[in-house]
Symmetry: C2
Subunit: 278 residues, 2 copies
Amino acid sequence: MAKQPELDDFRVPYFDGRKKSKFSLDDFDPAAKPFSTGAKDSDRARLSEIGAKLDNLQECLHAQQKRRVLLVLQGMDTSGKDGTIRAVFHEVDPLGLRIVPFKAPTQGELAHDFLWRVHSQAPAAGELTIFNRSHYEDLLVPTVLGALDAPAFDVRCRHIRQFEELLADSGTTIIKCMLHISKDEQRARLQARIDDPTKHWKFDVSDLDARKQWDKYQAAYRDALAATSTEYAPWYVIPADSKTHRNVMVAELLLRTFGALKLEYPPAKESLKGVEVE
Amino acid sequence: MAKQPELDDFRVPYFDGRKKSKFSLDDFDPAAKPFSTGAKDSDRARLSEIGAKLDNLQECLHAQQKRRVLLVLQGMDTSGKDGTIRAVFHEVDPLGLRIVPFKAPTQGELAHDFLWRVHSQAPAAGELTIFNRSHYEDLLVPTVLGALDAPAFDVRCRHIRQFEELLADSGTTIIKCMLHISKDEQRARLQARIDDPTKHWKFDVSDLDARKQWDKYQAAYRDALAATSTEYAPWYVIPADSKTHRNVMVAELLLRTFGALKLEYPPAKESLKGVEVE
């Protein structure tokens, strides 16, 4: 019988100070469905089951007001960042979620260091925050555009590790997911958007330019992930050609992460015992 | 046959510059269920139906990136602000929602004018933002505590009207809901929290102090609503002793508000016609 896959098989090896790790995105098949239950219907049922658990765990996180959780979602255009958020968090109370989309930085933001706008959005005690894109864009985009050379890239990676260590040391659990799709799957998804005029608002011609740089983006992703996967802020590669698989795997990862926090509701208040409201 | 209730029957009369309007909260029965379909099951079905429509409308709002929508939720402790958000927006994509809880202002916030922290949270183009409590707390609490006299109260009301007019003139649709519960219903809900030790974390002893000031809070609410219900930012009184009724009525109100915006998806882009992705 084949070995059951484990979430840690999809974790990018921790950065050990050496620039050239043997980690390669090519070792991960975007079309794989290791965490699928075997059928779409049962995947959806599993997702719903995990969603209800995440809802409870999130309430517990909020009740405690101690820990913070940060989920970072990255991936090429059409890799399904929005869809993941919609599907995985459907059962979670919107009161307990904060979703932060990062667009191209504005002039005002560029007048600061690249982590300034990100730091201000870090989760507070009791919060579950999702970064929809993140500070990793500031590694990827300028690298592909040729505006960030290798030494400057390394410096940014170091700053990111130190920044994430600060968050972790301050009570934040960080998980980072790269939604990994194939070039063919991206073509199909982009074409579907073009062919449906009601979806044109989702489409920007620059998406096609970014696609032309596919290989450069994949290389930049590899280097970024290899240099910033750490014990306190690990990266996971999520095979994402199948949307249901992608959703189930991200949900399983969150469920395990929350489980490791051993969250409990705060104890009853003795002072309230026997109180009658007038 | 009795006249069917209309949402506008629950709208607080627009402020006309005179301090003493005949508006009274006593004219609204907290236990009424005017927008209930008649049974809890069918109310839940109706809520789910409206939720799916709101999800589409919110996507359309986001696609257009023009209008903004702001829902302000106010009400006494246990009136159900959290529960309303959870129930009404269950079907809405969490990507399209931003929920802003306002707690007691910090020292840093008090060093600014009372609208400073609120303005920074106003919805951006394409956003649906919910204020869970709001700038109205800065009218109600200091009034009840005796820290805001009548002339200062009037000045704050004027500043609020002018602030909301600025938002409205800049493309924001504002609706404000006061979740109206009876004193008896609040007793039952507070007692239920006390009697369940696993809910103690939701309970603060100061909730009992606020309850002792019930009449003063009701009077402050009356005055605040009367002075700040305007054509561009109307207040609605939501009978809220029944949770399902409360949820359905807020959902109906939002549905009508979104409907009035006549949202449409942006037109197809001619430049994308026939494009083949390579």
